[in-house]
Structures are given as structure tokens and as C-alpha cells.
């Protein structure tokens, strides 16, 4: 599957793939969605794809403090000129995308399997993806946190969460079993 500059070659046990952001019009105004939902026999995978231009094309990674950004970062879509993006804004955006998608599907009775959420951020090295993952994890209700805080939960909002670049995705046995990932040339 090709989407937003990425190519995913999903494993054979894939049940269904939805390019979910194309359904954004189904959501209410102000709601956001993840890019892809991949259904596997025992779980759903929510995929959010971000791609930042590299340094050679006047790039400064928005995760790095408050550097000026010239990028196709979706956060900046409505800003007239390249603006300031901070790790907090990106983290909140990733959280909202997950929750809005989760809510929409929950209301429609589609959350019948555990969900893992992966954000693929090309253009950022592993140090930056680690920092972003830690930041977003703090504001997401991950299963392990829910268990820790209250053992009466019998329904979990989010099982796993990861932020990776393409290299880390392909090196990880945990993610590789869902699909291999590459960048469109």
C-alpha cells in the first residue's frame, strides 16, 4: 500500500486496510484522524505518517526545541508562512488523532480488538523519535499505565504505542511482523 510517501508491504494475515484519513469528512468538524487502520486477526493497528524534509532542503526538525520549520508538517498546514512548532504541539496532535479516531470507531462499534498505535516520522533520527515517543506516551492511556493505576479496568483504550523512523521500523521484529516499510523514491 502506498500512502503519503510511504510504502507498506503488509503481512499475509492482514484482514483489512483502511486509508482512514480519507474518511475524515465522516468525522465532525474539529476532529482529526490517523492515516491508516490495518486490521489483523487479533488486533488493529492505527498508523500515523509524518514526513519531514531533510536538512538539505532547508530543514530544521520541529522536534528540536523551537526551531524554525520549513516542512510539510501537517501542523503547519494553515499557517501562512513557516512557523514555530514545538514537541508539545506535535505530541498533542498525535494524541488527538488517536482519540478522535478511537471515539469515532467506538461509537460505531468497531473497537472490537486491542489497538496498537504507531507513528512513523521520517526525517527524524532515533534520538528524536525516542524523545517524541516518551512525550506522547505521557499523555496517552496505555494499557500498562491503566493497569498500574486501577486494576478494575476490563477494557483497554490503547495496548501499544511507538514512534519510529523507517530504519527502526524495519529493524524491529515487533513491527516487522505487521509489515515492511519504505519510502517512495
Amino acid at each position: 500500500m502506498e500512502k503519503d510517501g510511504y510504502v507498506f508491504d503488509f503481512s499475509d494475515d492482514i484482514v483489512d486496510i483502511i486509508s482512514f484519513d480519507e474518511n475524515e469528512k465522516l468525522l465532525c468538524d474539529g476532529m482529526k484522524s490517523v492515516d491508516i487502520i490495518a486490521e489483523f486477526p487479533n488486533e488493529y493497528l492505527f498508523l500515523e505518517l509524518k514526513k519531514y524534509k531533510d536538512r538539505n532542503i532547508d530543514f530544521k526538525c520541529p522536534l528540536w526545541k523551537e526551531a524554525k520549520v520549513v516542512s510539510n508538517c501537517p501542523l503547519l498546514k494553515n499557517e501562512k508562512i513557516s512557523g514555530l512548532a514545538s514537541i508539545n504541539r506535535i505530541a498533542k496532535d498525535l494524541r488527538q488523532k488517536y482519540f478522535d479516531t478511537f471515539l469515532y470507531r467506538h461509537i460505531n462499534g468497531r473497537n472490537d480488538k486491542p489497538i496498537s498505535y504507531i507513528c512513523v516520522v521520517e526525517g527524524c533520527d532515533s534520538a528524536l523519535t525516542t524523545r517524541l515517543k516518551d512525550k506522547v506516551s505521557m499523555i496517552l492511556p496505555l494499557k500498562r499505565k491503566m493497569i498500574k493505576e486501577n486494576d478494575e479496568w476490563n477494557y483497554f483504550i490503547l495496548k501499544n504505542f511507538a514512534v519510529v523512523n523507517v530504519k527502526s521500523w524495519n529493524k524491529s521484529p515487533q513491527l516487522n511482523r505487521y509489515a515492511s516499510c519504505s519510502i517512495v523514491d
Binding site: 536538512r55 533520527d125 532515533s126 534520538a127 525516542t130 524491529s172
Partner: protein, 336 residues
């Protein structure tokens, strides 16, 4: 400025040829890949570039590396061996200069092209070692001169330079900018009294021994810029500038280094620090001269790769470490 170094069978290196940037040269690589050795060899070569230098290259190398015998600097192998290193330089007169130092494992040496290499000119060559010396400077200079102290000479050299009094006359615009930058970070000026260093500000004078180690490093830089040891045309070797410095200060440190380069100082840096490299990448401008030299082991031999952009390095041990962390974290946290 130095333009190239070639090494054959000396210390950790078997065969190495590195073309250098006229601005900033950043050496990265795992421990034991020879970053410091490389900088020390170039430093030694530049110390004899001044024709009035009182020491021979043999003596300088002995004092800088402190081997049991000079021949130990030849890369260790079975039986007798020999090694050499060549350094290339271009001064303001645009004349390419080059010297080659050959050494046998028995300690016999010869310097080729010594006459061409030396010039009637004093060069400002500075080597800032990892460990701070300013706090220990009182008495160190005289003790080092009179006694056999087992300290690499780079420590005595840096104390000597830092103790030089400030230059007379008005400071140039660039110099004033740099001194102001440092003054803002360390919140004061550096002054010297009887070989002791103090930070002077509104609260009075603070002994360097009571000052945070990271600030001492910037204080040293302040003294070296103030007394002209670091200026346009100088060559600065700085081993792990990030050591003892909180990453919060790295951005300012990088700004200082970039300003030095813009002023015309050639800079050599060895680093292990991701934040330092990232700040450098984000703060450099197109017109800044900067090269990254990655040193890595391949089949037990040290190789190098020189590139202008950080993301072009194929053997970046720091990024590899973060990649490995991501993989391990996923393996640890991901639930089936």
C-alpha cells in the same frame, strides 16, 4: 591552516588520510578509534612550525604522549617496524607546506622537509584537554618546569597560555562579541591574580575551585580569547568541549565555536555528544566551513569518512546507539 594529515603505522592507525576543513573539523568515533591521538599529532607538528621552537618534534611527541620510549608510538606489530605521519599546511602566503616524520620502533626518527615546514612566525596553537587545569594552576607551571611531573605536556601548555596577560589596546568587534557571549553565560569576567583564576562579577571574586567545572571550561576560553591565544589565524584543538557541561549550555557553546570559525580560527574537536552534534547541525549557516570526520574500526583497522553533513555519515556510533535504544525499548515495551 592545516589542510591534510596522512598517517602510516603510528599509534592506533595503520593507514589514514584525512583532508581537513579550513573551519571546523569534528572527529567522532567510539573510544579507542584515535580521535585524541590524531589531534595530538597535528598539535605536535604545529608546535615545531615556528622556527624558534626550542624543542624537537621527538621531544614534543614524547612529552605529549608520554610513551615508555618514543618507538612505542609505532603501531604495535610483531618484530621491528616503522611508521610515519605527514601534515600539510597552507599559510597566508598561499605556499603549500608539508612535513613528514618517520619513526622506527627502536626510536630512531627523521623529519623530512623540516625547513619548508618551519617559518619565522609565531603561531597561536591551543590544545584544550578534557580535564580542567585552571583550578589547579597556582604553582603548577613552576612545578612542571622544575620537576619530572608525569603530566602530558598539553596540561602545562594550556596553563601557560591561560596565564598570559590580556592584550593591550582595543578589542576587535569579533573578539568583543565572543567575550560578551561567554560573559553572559558564566555571569562575569575572568581575572587572574598570582597564577590564580577568579570569576569577577557584582558579588565579588569567586575562586575557580568554587566554580562549576563546566563554567571553568568557558572561563578558560574567555582567557584565551582575551589574551589573543585564540584569534584569527589560530588553530584550536579541543578535546570533548561538552565534557562537564549541562546540555542546556551546548547551544551557546556551539555559537561560540561557530563565531570563532567565522573569525578565522581553524578548529578541531573530538566529541561523543549527540546534543553537541545536533546543535552544530542546526546552528551552522551555509557559508560556515565544517567537516565531520568519522573514525571507525573495520577488520581491526581504523578507517575514516569525511563528510560535510552529519546525516551523510554512514558510521555514526552515536546515532547507532540511539537506533539500538529504540529497538531495545520496543522489544521491552511492546505487548503481543
Amino acid at each position: 591552516m592545516l589542510t591534510e594529515i596522512k598517517i602510516d603505522n603510528i599509534t592506533a592507525f595503520e593507514n589514514l588520510d584525512i583532508k581537513l576543513s579550513k573551519g571546523i573539523n569534528v572527529f567522532i568515533g567510539a573510544n579507542g578509534t584515535g580521535k585524541t591521538h590524531l589531534m595530538k599529532l597535528m598539535y605536535a607538528a604545529m608546535l615545531v612550525a615556528d622556527v624558534s621552537s626550542k624543542k624537537t618534534l621527538d621531544q614534543i611527541l614524547q612529552n605529549i604522549f608520554l610513551p615508555d620510549s618514543l618507538g612505542r608510538l609505532v603501531k604495535r606489530s610483531l618484530g621491528r617496524g616503522s611508521g610515519s605521519f605527514s601534515v600539510y599546511r597552507q599559510d597566508d602566503d598561499d605556499t603549500p607546506r608539508y612535513m613528514r616524520y618517520e619513526l622506527s620502533s627502536l626510536g630512531k626518527s627523521q623529519t623530512i622537509n623540516h625547513r619548508i615546514w618551519t617559518k619565522k612566525q609565531s603561531y597561536n596553537i591551543v590544545y584544550i584537554p578534557v580535564k580542567d587545569m585552571l583550578a589547579n594552576s597556582p604553582g603548577f607551571k613552576s612545578l612542571y618546569e622544575k620537576r619530572e611531573l608525569y603530566f602530558e605536556s598539553i596540561y602545562a601548555d594550556i596553563v601557560d597560555l591561560a596565564l598570559l596577560p590580556p592584550l593591550k589596546g582595543h578589542a576587535s568587534k569579533e573578539k568583543t562579541i565572543l567575550l560578551d557571549l561567554i560573559q553572559q553565560i558564566i555571569d562575569g569576567k575572568v581575572i587572574k591574580k598570582d597564577e590564580k583564576f577568579y570569576l569577577k562579577n557584582k558579588q565579588g571574586n569567586l575562586e575557580f575551585t568554587l566554580l562549576a567545572e563546566g563554567y571553568r571550561k568557558l572561563g578558560l576560553l574567555y582567557s584565551l580569547i582575551q589574551n589573543g591565544s585564540i584569534s584569527s589565524g589560530s588553530i584550536l584543538f579541543w578535546d570533548e568541549p561538552e565534557a562537564n557541561l549541562n546540555p542546556k549550555l551546548t547551544q551557546q557553546l556551539v555559537n561560540i565555536i561557530l563565531e570563532l570559525q567565522r573569525m578565522g580560527t581553524q578548529i578541531f574537536i573530538a566529541t561523543h555528544d549527540y546534543v553537541f552534534l545536533k546543535e552544530l547541525e542546526l546552528s551552522k549557516k551555509k557559508e560556515d566551513a565544517l567537516m565531520y570526520h568519522s573514525l571507525y574500526k573495520e577488520n581491526e583497522e581504523i578507517k575514516s569518512q569525511s563528510v560535510e553533513n552529519l546525516n551523510e555519515i554512514s558510521n555514526n556510533v552515536i546515532n547507532d546507539t540511539f537506533d539500538s535504544l529504540v529497538g531495545r525499548a520496543l522489544g521491552f515495551e511492546w505487548e503481543d
